[in-house]
């Protein structure tokens, strides 16, 4: 069974570059953009999956980190685009159009936000944790709307995609390659992390916190570290998402976004490394197909989701690979 899941994982993972490659041959740049979108959303959900799948922390506020990553890109690039320094009071900090710098800022900013939100929210658990993360996410949403300096409710448009050394990021397939490489690296790192002593301890803390405490580990600290890493990855995805659309707006902070990340994980199969990837791809495909069928396509997504939750526990990979390898 494990081999079967491995084959399915490989197939799902390789379907992304296969679709993008085929679209390149057929000269369909929009499909490449769809594949890029799926890869970025998958990255965001892979981040959440560390907290949710491995740590058992149902965060309904991960859009906060996604949005912070997006705004890190938006703010830095808008200053570079208008040649107005970000800070010029004591020291001068210019905006930048360089992706690696933007990514670094996005990761650090969302990690700090995750540290603050996590330190408060992890004092509680269960339903409290869900409601509190949701509320903090909403706090960022309203802050982004009411803070007029960076577009307020209208958001920020960035006219040219940011630069990556050696690539022309405006060519869809090159940007896809970049995003896919990041996704692959993060998935590899997540696989290593899950098998590391930290990952094992985190997994154990989800299953039985008392026992973990008895052997001298602190569940709170394990969960906080996981929450921070998780937020940072989702923040990185946010920066990429903003670069894909060349636009950031408060909707990146919206709680529906947080809900969708959880949906990706569960559609794909919770607690599985490639679950979020499968879920995000499935969602983007559904979105693309159903939005052609009806203006009210979300009603079908709702119905499918309801059926998956009620009857097909284990998600896509669970249904294909069987339940024997589920982590719980």
């Amino acid at each position: 069974m494990i081999r079967r899941e491995g084959i399915i994982n490989t197939l799902i993972f390789l379907s992304l570059p296969a679709v993008a490659g085929a679209a390149l041959l057929l000269d369909e740049p929009f499909t490449i953009t769809l594949a890029t979108r799926a890869a970025i959303l998958a990255l965001a959900a892979v981040g959440l999956n560390l907290a949710l799948g491995l740590g058992g922390l149902v965060s309904l506020g991960h859009a906060a980190f996604f949005g912070i990553g997006g705004y890190a890109m938006g703010i830095l690039a808008s200053h570079a685009q208008s040649y107005v320094p970000l800070i010029d009071t004591w020291i001068v900090i210019e905006g930048t159009k360089s992706m690696p710098v933007i990514w670094l800022v996005a990761v650090i900013a969302s990690a700090f936000a995750a540290l603050a939100i996590g330190a408060l929210s992890l004092r509680t658990s269960g339903v409290y944790f869900i409601m509190i993360t949701l509320a903090f996410g909403q706090m960022f949403y309203y802050f982004a709307i009411s803070w007029p300096a960076y577009g307020g409710e209208d958001g920020l448009s960035i006219y040219v995609r940011n630069d990556f050394p050696g690539l022309n990021t405006l060519v869809p397939i090159q940007f896809f390659g970049l995003v896919f490489t990041i996704l692959a690296l993060v998935l590899w790192a997540m696989g290593r992390l899950a098998a590391s002593p930290f990952g094992l301890a985190l997994n154990a803390a989800r299953q039985n916190a008392e026992r973990v405490e008895t052997v001298g580990l602190t569940p709170f600290r394990l969960r906080l570290v996981a929450f921070v890493i998780s937020g940072a990855i989702t923040g990185l995805a946010g920066a990429l998402f903003a670069d894909l659309n060349r636009f950031v707006s408060p909707s990146m902070f919206s709680w529906q976004m947080s809900g969708e990340f959880i949906v990706f994980i569960v559609l794909g199969g919770i607690g599985r490394l490639f679950g979020p990837v499968a879920g995000a791809c499935l969602f983007v495909v559904l979105e693309h197909m159903l939005s052609g069928v009806s203006e009210f396509w979300l009603i079908y997504v709702g119905a499918i989701l309801l059926l998956v939750v009620l009857f097909a526990r284990g998600g896509l990979i669970g249904t294909l690979a069987g339940r024997a390898v589920a982590h719980d």
Partner: protein, 305 residues
């Protein structure tokens, strides 16, 4: 800022707090008795508002509209309880979150399908459209005053229902030990449906009452739902008293913060910066309130561990 204006804002805060209480009371009851987190509670609020707007449009009667909101929301609540929610009681919170998130998508898009994307308007009845003069010469809209009175009356009725009636005894017993009351011959699944429909009716009524002040549109329920979560976190899950105190705290903080913070920053900043900083901070004020409560009482003001 004059005292009169301040009193008016306090009344506005009370009014929004009372409406939040109607939402939060249902949520906290449902969580307390069934252990269920219901994200679709905001959809029931929306259902109530749309039912009221449709009936008011057809009959012109505001009283009929309010009754329609109660009936429609309670019926919608009872139906989703029997079809979907019932299967979720022994699932973990993640499944509950997802299934009720799916319900939101279905309700929102379904309503958009039936009523279209444009907001509907529910008019305040003519008799209540004008202001009334309160002691001290304060002019305050009669309708908003009525909302406060109605909300307080419902709160009192709810406390009586829980404390004095047979169904209230069953609800309280269900909160502390559901197997036991099942063993004593109480029809648990009927009790659950009743509690869920009661919570839904309260949410629907709140939607209709607020819908007459704001516009009735798809997605109106979710911002209120999230505020109601903040209320419950502050008040403590499962506590109706906590929901009332939390709702009033959140309503007052939100309303007064939006007015007072820009003024306070105006003392030492120029007007436009003060408005920007003040309103941005005001939008965060209730979450900061929630964070402070969490630091000192992680289970909320009236919560038990």
């Amino acid at each position: 800022m004059t005292t009169l204006l301040l009193i008016e804002q306090v009344l506005n805060g009370l009014q929004s707090g009372i409406m939040l209480f109607l939402m939060a009371a249902g949520l906290t009851l449902i969580f307390g008795v069934m252990g269920l987190i219901n994200l679709a509670h905001g959809s029931l609020y929306m259902v109530g508002a749309f039912a009221a707007a449709a009936v008011a449009g057809a009959t012109g009667s505001f009283v009929l509209a309010l009754m329609a909101s109660l009936i429609a929301a309670a019926a919608a609540g009872a139906v989703i309880e029997m079809v979907v929610i019932r299967r979720l009681y022994d699932r973990d919170h993640l499944d509950q979150v997802l299934a009720t998130f799916a319900l939101i998508l279905i309700f929102s898009e379904g309503t958009r399908w039936v009523f279209g994307s444009f907001p509907l308007y529910l008019d305040v009845p003519a008799a209540l459209a004008g202001p009334v003069t309160l002691p001290g010469g304060i002019l305050y809209p009669a309708y908003r005053l009525l909302i406060i009175v109605v909300g307080l009356a419902i709160a009192a009725g709810l406390f009586l229902l829980i404390a004095r009636t047979r169904i209230g005894i069953q609800i309280r017993a269900g909160e502390s030990d559901r197997e036991m009351i099942g063993a004593l011959g109480v029809d648990i699944s009927r009790l659950y449906t009743i509690v869920f429909a009661l919570g839904a009716a309260l949410a629907g009524l709140a939607g209709a009452l607020v819908g007459a002040i704001q516009s009735v549109q798809v997605g109106m329920g979710e911002p209120v739902l999230i505020l109601a979560f903040v209320v419950i976190v502050i008040g403590g899950i499962g506590s109706i008293k906590g929901a009332l105190v939390g709702a009033l705290l959140v309503g007052l903080t939100d309303t007064l913060g939006g007015v007072l913070l820009p003024l306070a920053f105006g003392v030492f900043m120029d007007a436009s910066t003060a408005t920007a900083v003040g309103s941005a901070l005001a939008s965060m004020s209730i979450y900061i309130l929630m964070a402070i409560v969490l630091l000192y009482r992680p289970t909320g003001l009236f919560g038990t561990v």
